[in-house]
């Protein structure tokens, strides 16, 4: 924010100050009681102090604004604002002043001056003011290059420049993790860490899904009409704090039809993050497109379309399986059902399911019962492709809670 003095041969002086938001002055309350030696003196001093809150002098945070005291840090996504002042230090009128402010980054050079026209003349003790704004889009060294050219009284053309170098730092660390649900849903956990040195209010952290998905944010606990954030009342992040955001992505129906076909790398979307710091200093970032490797399902995918949470002991219940042909060829399937220690399938094992062309699926209602209480894993389905004589085993397809409905009566 400070500036070197221009070498004295120049008639104009260029000064630059970064305009971060002003800060609120805090005072330091020292009080005493009437019976103490100073009596009301301390109280009086505090009441006379213009920076205290009248009527509540012991409140530390005042209302007096103070200008930024140093350059501070600047982070990617924030707006770099700067005051540029060119002052005529001499006692002569200077003509044709052109002030140019450029920002040089590692990849490009941007012109930030509001106007590019020359000022016809500048009287002694006057100045040309400009406030520039630029949203910072690159990390690393930035150089503000201010160039001033002017003509003296005697027609001499002069020129000087100043460089102001600053580093743009990364404000956030974002990590993501995908969880594939048994259905086609994908859950995205995003860990966002504040790696600046000041608290950060997260105004918006949203997932902009790609065209294939619909997204549900899971960061609110809805109670009645008003949702409450899972992060509590205060939506700010202290330095080095991390917060986890959770999103649920569902393929849109038109894509869901082809769910079995979603293979390999898919684009999920990108996170859009807006934060604010001191007195509303704003920053915004987006992550690059988040990509996810769709889980491989092999040739045949077996998923569950319907299954009860809780079932009664030794009572049959129904589930609906969805069998999708993920391979490139038509299959002729045969279903085998093997009982496990707790799971007993009802119906005939080894029945033909018929032909299934690529990307086609069929829904298969099945009935089974459990002979053991507790959380039971449904296992024991075998599908055999009679064309290739290849058998696919499906164990641990889902879990179901088995309870004894008579427990309460008997005990």
């Amino acid at each position: 924010m400070d500036v070197t003095q221009a070498k004295q041969e120049h008639l104009l002086a260029l000064k630059v100050m970064r305009l971060t938001k002003p800060t609120l002055f805090t005072n330091l309350p020292v009080t005493c009681e009437d019976r103490d030696l100073p009596g009301d003196l301390f109280g009086q001093l505090m009441r006379e102090d213009p920076s205290t809150i009248k009527g509540a002098e012991t409140l530390m945070l005042g209302e007096m604004l103070t200008l930024p005291q140093n350059f501070g840090n600047i982070f990617l996504g924030e707006t770099f604002s700067s005051y540029i002042s060119v002052h005529n230090d001499s006692n002569q009128v200077v003509k044709d002043i052109l002030v140019k402010a450029d920002l040089q980054t590692s990849s490009q050079r941007l012109n930030l001056s509001a106007s590019n026209s020359a000022v016809a003349e500048l009287k002694p003790e006057s100045c040309i003011d400009d406030v520039i704004h630029h949203e910072v889009k690159e990390i690393g060294t930035h150089i503000l290059v201010c160039a001033v050219s002017y003509t003296t009284q005697y027609g001499e053309k002069l020129y000087f420049r100043k460089f102001f170098k600053f580093q743009v730092l990364k404000p956030l660390d974002v990590k993501t993790k995908f969880y594939n649900a048994e259905t086609d849903e994908v859950f995205l956990e995003a860990q966002i860490q504040n790696i600046t040195t000041s608290p950060m209010f997260m105004e918006k952290v949203s997932l902009e899904p790609s065209m294939m998905y619909n997204v549900t944010e899971l960061n609110m606990v809805s109670s009645g009409d008003l949702g409450e954030s899972t992060f509590g009342k205060m939506s700010y992040l202290q330095p080095m704090d991390t917060r986890q955001y959770l999103y649920c992505l569902k393929p849109k129906p038109e894509y869901a039809e082809k769910a079995g076909v979603i293979k390999g790398v898919t684009v999920i979307g990108k996170l859009d993050i807006v934060w604010k710091t001191n007195l509303g200093e704003r920053g915004r970032l987006q992550t690059s497109q988040l990509q996810r490797m769709a889980p491989g399902y092999g040739d045949i995918r077996l998923s569950l379309e319907m299954i009860p949470d809780t079932v009664n002991l030794e009572e049959p219940f129904d589930i609906i399986c969805k069998i999708t042909n993920c391979s490139e060829r038509t299959m002729d399937l045969e279903l085998e059902m093997c009982n496990t220690r707790s799971i007993h399938w009802c119906g005939v094992s080894g029945r033909q399911l018929g032909k299934l062309s690529p990307a086609a699926f069929l829904s298969l209602p099945l009935t089974l019962l459990s002979s053991v209480q507790g959380l039971q894993s449904i296992s024991g389905l075998r599908l055999t492709d009679t064309f290739l004589k290849r058998t696919y085993e499906y164990d641990d397809i889902a879990q179901v809670c088995v309870v004894c409905q008579y427990t309460s009566n008997e005990c």
């Binding site: 002055f25 009681e33 007096m64 140093n70 050079r109 420049r161 460089f163 608290p199 490797m293």
Partner: protein, 841 residues
């Protein structure tokens, strides 16, 4: 662009091969000419300024990039992957790896190397990371850093860099002023930097500096002339002392109504000492010998060094041996109170006869022990009545006084000592003395830890910038120019000469026997001596001299020693109970650590205070006395007591909230401020606004607006006072400000000025908004005008800081303008003025 001709003067032009075309960012329409060949950089017309931030080694990069780290992460959470943040949304879509523009060949080599290294590491990290590193493919990532490689030839910008670094440094100095709360080093620096300057100012060698211990001489600027003839035997005493002793027939004490400059003489025992070497030796000798046994090095006074031969006396062992010496020093000033009552002798002197022999070599002078008590006998009357009078000055009948005050006393002094202390106090009350009883570790033995603040930073600056003549014109009260009494002290405080006031408290305490180097020596306390300590420590904190305050607070321990309670002095304060230590001092003690970067400790202490306050309030509500005893109180007394303790409770809560705010624990701070509303309903508007501002500080504008709406509702309920309208307008202005709408914010502040033209906050804030709107001259004009018209309101450090910042922005001649400010300050402000806001140095 017309600058083409100017640019043409520069020899080399590098052209950018690909200028990326963006819709949002302003790009120069023509191929930008880059005229920065390295040899250009040595030309005098070019300055480069490193705006800092370079030193930030971006720790985050390490976390992503270092292979080992990422490996660790892989181990811990298999699927967690780091995502590169692309630049801002607008940029991310159409991304282009712009060719490196070899601008600034002159960049610091080292830095580049660092960058390269970092990149390499990063690349390595990402590659080794795993195949799942999907984000790597994101189109935007590469733009950030990769292009930088290789293109930088080392060039000679370093000279320029260095130049500018100096400047940035000095600028940082100026800036440091605003962080006193955080910067614990500050006070120390303060002191040290001031002292030499003071010496210059007074034109004395350090050896001849007036020292508080050795009395106060009337000559003000020429304390060198230590002519003993001029002495008038005067004790330095508080008014209460002198009046009390007057009643007691103490002739040795002259009334303190002497016109200033007052001549003071050390108390009897000291004067005896004084005659030994006082005539020939400058005061320092006396002082040195005095301070020798101390193991504390004075922060400020160069005279206070420990002589090489003298072994610093550990605190614990000395007191026992120097008991008699202490009793002599007690008798010197506090003599009327406690010196000779037989009980006290037993208390303090388990070995009254064993004295000088065991003391350290440098101290024998102070320990004329056996003679000291007798010497003080004539000046003191051991009757308790007399002592009481000394405490409650100006009352004819001590008994009546005691009775009439007892209600108020009990109310204010109530406190809950710890169990251990309580036992000691009970045993004192029941007269169960035993030699083992006096454990010095359980006593408070304070002493000044540094002696002389006596600086006037304003004057020093004047000497430096305006010359001696101008500096001579500065007239402020100092500790010599006021009455050496509480009255003088108050005068100094009111005139904002807090440094001088601290000095004066030092003298008064020295007279009480708790002077420099007396820490660790047994002493006794009176209401007045503790009040003096309170004022001294409060002023030190007001002066931001937190470390000094901490040093001097240290002997007080946790403020629960038995000798800080009235019960400990049954003869001096018969029948009086409770804490002799003022509540305000407990609060001060609790608040202090937060300014020394130990907020947790401050919170602990504040919670202890809160617990006691709550307990007392509860007692009162249950119909008991403050301390839980079954004394019946009249309804009025109970009401008054409840009111007092609730106000104390809310004061403690305020401190806790302030401390939490300093800790940036906004959740708890807001909660605490909210809970104060129930105790101080009349401060509802201010508190809610304050909470709103906290949210603005965090950046949560929406929640802030919610609170501001509550404020408006509260205002409407209370009817439209102008102060409330002001408050509402201010809040609106702050919201506009937070929405980057400086124009509206300015309008709101101006609106406030229509109602309250003299509102300093609105005036200052409006000027600040003007600057953000690009109207530097207007803004400056407004602030300057204010400072000239109404210096009483606007010579405030925040305003001056803004003003000097704008001066710096305006022209290269800011120093002259700042000097003019200094002159304005010199006419009005006392020695406590914080000169850093002038940014002259």
């Amino acid at each position: 662009m017309e600058s083409g001709d100017a640019a043409a003067q520069r020899p080399v032009t590098l052209d950018i091969t690909v200028e990326d075309v963006k819709t949002d960012a302003p790009v120069s329409p023509e191929p930008t000419s880059l005229q920065i060949p390295s040899r250009d950089l040595v030309l005098p017309t070019e300055d480069s300024i490193d705006l800092g931030g370079g030193e930030f080694a971006s720790p985050q990069e390490v976390s992503i990039a270092t292979p080992s780290e990422s490996l660790m992460e892989k181990l811990n959470e298999q699927m967690m992957e780091s995502v590169m943040i692309s630049d801002s949304p607008l940029n991310s879509e159409e991304n282009d790896v712009a060719p490196i523009d070899s601008f600034l060949d002159g960049e610091e080599e080292e830095e580049k190397e660092d960058d390269d290294e970092e990149e390499e590491r990063e690349n390595a990290g990402e590659i080794s990371g795993d195949k799942q590193e999907l984000s790597e493919t994101g189109p935007t990532i590469t733009t950030l850093q990769v292009p930088v490689e290789g293109h930088e030839g080392g060039a000679s910008e370093e000279e320029v860099e260095e130049d500018t670094k100096e400047q940035t440094d000095s600028q940082e100095d100026a800036v440091a002023f605003f962080s006193p709360l955080v910067d614990t080093q500050d006070p120390q620096i303060d002191l040290q930097s001031e002292d030499p300057a003071t010496e210059e100012a007074s034109g004395m060698s350090p050896k001849h500096k007036p020292l508080p211990v050795c009395t106060i001489f009337s000559h003000g600027t020429h304390p060198k002339s230590l002519v003993p003839d001029g002495f008038q035997p005067t004790l330095i005493k508080s008014p209460s002392f002198s009046m009390g002793s007057g009643g007691g027939g103490d002739d040795a004490v002259t009334p303190t109504k002497l016109t200033a400059p007052l001549v003071c003489q050390p108390s009897p025992s000291l004067s005896k000492f004084f005659t030994d070497n006082g005539q020939t030796n400058p005061a320092t000798d006396f002082f040195d010998s005095f301070t020798a046994p101390s193991d504390f090095i004075s922060v400020s006074n160069p005279n206070a060094e420990i002589p090489p031969g003298a072994s610093p006396a550990p605190i614990a062992p000395t007191p026992e041996r120097q008991l008699s010496s202490t009793s002599s020093s007690i008798s010197s000033a506090a003599g009327p109170l406690d010196s000779d009552t037989p009980t006290l002798i037993t208390v303090f002197g388990p070995v009254p006869t064993e004295t000088t022999t065991k003391t350290q070599p440098p101290t024998p002078q102070i320990v004329p022990a056996p003679t000291a008590p007798p010497a003080s006998v004539p000046t003191t009357l051991p009757q308790p009545f007399n002592q009481l009078q000394a405490v409650f000055s100006g009352n004819d009948d001590p008994f009546a006084t005691a009775l009439s005050l007892s209600e108020v006393d009990r109310r204010h002094d109530a406190w809950q000592p710890s169990e251990e202390t309580r036992k000691v106090l009970i045993s004192v009350a029941t007269q169960q003395f035993s030699p083992a009883f006096v454990e010095t570790s359980k006593l408070t033995m304070p002493g000044l830890k540094f002696d002389n603040l006596q600086g006037d930073a304003v004057k020093d600056l004047m000497l430096r910038f305006l010359g001696e003549q101008a500096a001579m014109k500065r007239q402020v009260l100092n500790s010599n120019s006021v009455e050496q009494s509480f009255t003088g002290l108050k005068q100094l405080i009111t005139s904002k000469n807090w440094r001088a006031a601290v000095d004066l408290t030092g003298r008064l305490l020295t007279a009480h026997g708790q002077g420099y180097g007396k820490a660790g020596q047994p002493t006794s306390h009176t209401t007045d001596s503790l009040q003096l300590w309170f004022v001294r420590l409060a002023l030190l904190i007001k002066l931001n001299l937190f470390q000094n305050a901490e040093l001097e607070f240290e002997p007080f321990g946790n403020l629960d020693h038995p000798d800080l309670y009235y019960e400990y002095y049954p003869t001096v304060y018969p029948g009086r109970r409770g804490s002799m230590l003022p509540f305000s001092m407990r609060l001060l003690h609790a608040e202090l650590p937060q300014y020394l970067a130990k907020p947790q400790e401050a919170l602990d202490r504040l919670h202890t205070l809160k617990t006691v306050c709550l307990a007392i309030v509860e007692n009162l509500e249950k119909g008991l006395a403050e301390d839980g005893t079954m004394i019946t109180l009249t309804p009025e007394n109970r009401q008054a007591s409840l009111k007092l303790w609730q106000s104390r409770l809310s004061r403690v809560m305020y401190s806790m909230a302030n401390c939490l705010l300093l800790m940036k624990d906004y959740v708890l701070a807001v909660e605490t401020y909210s809970s104060i509303i129930q105790y101080e309903p009349h401060q509802r508007v201010q508190l809610l606004s304050g909470i709103g501002r906290i949210f603005l500080q965090i950046g949560d504008v929406q929640t802030a607006e919610g609170y501001f709406q509550d404020v408006e509702r509260a205002c409407q309920m209370k009817g439209s006072q102008s102060s409330h309208i002001t408050c509402m307008l201010m809040n609106r202005a702050f919201v506009h400000l937070s929405q980057n709408n400086y124009g509206e914010a300015h309008a709101s502040f101006t609106e406030v000025l229509k109602i309250d033209p003299k509102n300093p906050v609105a005036n200052n804030n409006a000027a600040v908004c003007l600057l953000y709107l690009g109207h530097l001259k207007e803004s400056l004009g407004q602030l300057e005008g204010l400072v000239q018209q109404d210096p009483a309101l606007y010579l405030h450090e925040s305003v001056l800081f803004n003003l000097t910042t704008m001066y710096e922005l305006e022209s290269s001649r800011s120093t002259q303008k700042k000097q003019a400010l200094l002159e304005a300050v010199a006419c009005r402000e006392g020695d406590s003025f914080n000169t850093q806001c002038l940014k002259l140095v």
